[in-house]
Symmetry: C2
Subunit: 461 residues, 2 copies
């Protein structure tokens, strides 16, 4: 932005926010990259609003001077969602972290967008309810909604898409709207809630969310089970899903990933393809589910299940799983994480993963595999040497082949990470002419292209 | 439309479709009202395309001459969705009724929009899979998607919103796009699928749907249970949901409705507030669920459950429930159905229903109540004398008070029927400024306002 406009905006924002606007380089850089492998691209200013009305005013000031706006939650996104590609104002939502209402009777919570996963968990402790979506990092709920996040429980409870009931949003012109209602279902007009969920901040700033709560299960069992081949593990997952067994979690870790978590968390699991499983339900439901899944697993030559029935052991098990990404990075000194994910129809999953493993071996890149295999979704936690441009190019090419493989199998270029800038170049390949429809919506709601510009939608030039 | 444009369009459509364009008055009138209480408003022509490409051509011809387009499935919508308010071309989709693919491994079916509920059921018979959404009439799946339909099973399996995976759509400019993918989840771009689901044909014509299939339950039990008061019945439903018991169906029929179905289906149920219930799961799951629900019901002084465990008896029970609307109409000679529905957060449901019952009594209108109470959704099947304008006005006022009551309780003006023209006047009350966002999207995708004009979005004048 030009220097004069920049100065005017700074002054106007300072008048509104007093000391809650920062132009210090350290803070700006902290807001310029997130968990992505892209080069840090800091905003001009970082602001810390404390209300929806303030956000509306910030957006109006920016709109008047045609300055970009980037909403910021916890900075945990992996595809470059928060890079300030055109400079502008980063709206850090950490002060908007109030739990506004926990409505047990109607099983929802209304929260501000800066509430984090851990904070939400703590607030729900002892209530008999929980929120199932956990992306494996302590993201904010606003950010999770914006990237349509999911995680290990999605196989049973759905993703953010299924678990956001309504939103409050500040639009690009500063107008404040509410989408949806508190009713469980509605046929009243266009589904704006689902338009903003997954929009990555390119259509507006989410300033409040009403999310669905779920009854805490009567009983929870977790298990670990190792397999002779990755194919056997994946086929176990496929058959389990096809039989309609309501798994709460069914996660694949390949041999390389098992080595990483053993080292990182001082564990001694067999370093072979492994499923991490979790069952939710009443005691009798669990017994039925377990009998069925064990039978399927054994038909694919699985080893015995290692059961974790008490809470502490279960938490330890899932902590090891959650730490998979840092565990992968830790195995390589000064390694840089390049996390990627795709999702395919479940019947294609075994082929997609085995072909990808072959590709990884041939490319000679360190890329352990981790999968929410019940959903057909898996990740490569590629770790590269950031100072080796050749390796970086090899990793990008591997990622590209992965995406093309998934798309050829009628899948998607990302199951839960989102587009940001990392997956921009695959959008047209995946959506074809529908890209024009997406652009038409973008232009209708943000005609000056100020809301998180350069993300989600590829340039059509 | 002007006579000359009309003639040109007729000739061009005839060239494309040969004898599959009709301007005969009987046929036009058959396409002008559906199951709504509004006056018949026929289109100028009815066309019967047999492919997506033909629909694209039809839309292009209409767009060139600025002629309205109304997609038509089975004509079962109740809020006037298919009235040709500006004349134009009705696209009857009955020839596009092919089951394109039943993919058991990935649990989806790809179908044309003219496939009906009954046809889908028959096609899935014996497959081990079923499609749970049933709006109680033999609607088409294209129509069900367009109104975001649901029905009795939604409490467990969700609505059309949760059960459409991807769509093919012809846009207002004739362009053909695909939304979503065959993967179970995706974070790749704006959620266009959910924008077209519930859009009532105002943004484009749905020409293909991929819908989720569900594993047929191992066991199904159905039961009928009567209560001393409607409040007791509703509170049983509320507690059942709040305890997280995964009911497949939990339907309320008030005393008046029980009388109607007894007469219509020659049954002898007690004519008191009654819940119709269905349980899906394994034998042991069902036993657990039943024990819990019976305990809740008895705490509200329910009578004994009448169980229907074999298929024939169960089908008979649900047939009686499905026939509730015609049963209500049958009780009044030459009566006209004015069906309406609202949905509220479940904790407000007992209050909403009892206040509505009181209102019905005071208004002295015949309006049996029927509810998908597990979702907080209920219907009044108002039956009026179509030749009594005063009664018609009283019924409309009753409907208006019902909607305002639901909105005051943070609910929605329609849980599953849609807006059409019948609920237009409540859209701004429910959505406030978000109406402008909906209009911005409409104008972006249909700048000439040719797609089903006058529906879903109220005029902002």
């Amino acid at each position: 932005m030009d220097t004069q406009a920049k100065q005017i905006v700074f002054e106007q924002l300072q008048q509104l926010l007093h000391d809650r606007i920062i132009d210090n380089e350290t803070i700006r850089n902290e807001h310029g990259v997130g968990f992505s492998y892209h080069a840090c691209t800091p905003p001009d200013y970082v602001v810390y609003p404390s209300s929806t009305e303030e956000i509306s005013e910030i957006v109006k000031i920016c709109a008047t001077h045609q300055i970009s706006i980037i909403p910021f939650g916890a900075g945990t996104s992996v595809e470059g969602h928060i890079l300030a590609l055109k400079g502008g104002v980063c709206i850090d939502l950490r002060l908007m972290n109030q739990m506004l209402e926990i409505n047990q009777a109607d099983m929802y919570a209304t929260i501000q967008p800066g509430v984090t996963r851990n904070q939400l968990d703590e607030a729900l402790q002892g209530s008999g309810f929980f929120f199932p979506i956990g992306p494996g990092v302590n993201a904010t709920l606003g950010g999770m909604a914006s990237t349509r996040a999911s995680g290990t429980n999605a196989v049973r409870y759905g993703t953010m898409k299924e678990n956001v009931l309504s939103l409050e949003v500040v639009l690009a012109n500063g107008q404040i709207i509410r989408t949806g209602s508190k009713a469980k279902k509605s046929s009243a007009g266009y589904d704006l809630t689902h338009l903003f969920v997954g929009a990555e901040g390119t259509l507006g700033v989410i300033t409040e969310l009403t999310i669905k709560l779920h009854s805490y299960p009567q009983a929870i069992y977790a298990a670990v089970c190792s397999f002779p081949t990755v194919e056997a593990a994946v086929n176990t997952a496929i058959q389990t899903i096809q039989k309609g067994i309501p798994m709460a979690k069914i996660e694949l870790l390949d041999a390389q990933m098992m080595t990483a978590i053993n080292c990182y968390s001082a564990l001694s699991y067999a370093e072979v393809p492994t499923l991490f499983l979790e069952f939710h339900g009443s005691q009798t439901e669990l017994e039925e589910q377990i009998t069925q899944v064990e039978a399927i697993a054994h038909s694919f030559d699985a080893n015995e299940f290692i059961w974790e029935k008490d809470e502490a052991a279960r938490i330890k098990l899932w902590r090891a799983r959650t730490d998979a990404a840092p565990a992968s990075v830790a195995l390589r000194k000064d390694g840089q994480l390049m996390s990627t994910d795709v999702c395919v129809p479940i019947s294609r999953l075994a082929k997609c993963i085995t072909e990808t493993q072959k590709d990884i071996q041939e490319t000679d890149i360190y890329a352990p595999i981790l999968g929410h295999v019940g959903d057909g979704n898996f990740h490569l936690t590629i770790v590269i040497d950031p100072n080796d441009p050749e390796e970086f190019e090899k990793a990008k090419a591997l990622n590209k082949r992965l995406v093309k493989r998934a798309l050829a199998m009628e899948g998607t270029c990302t199951g839960e990470h989102g587009i940001g800038i990392g997956k921009l170049s695959y959008m047209t390949l995946e959506h074809g002419k529908a890209i024009h429809t997406m652009w038409a919506i973008k232009q209708a709601l943000d005609p000056l292209n100020l809301m998180n510009p350069g993300k989600l939608l590829p340039s059509l030039d």
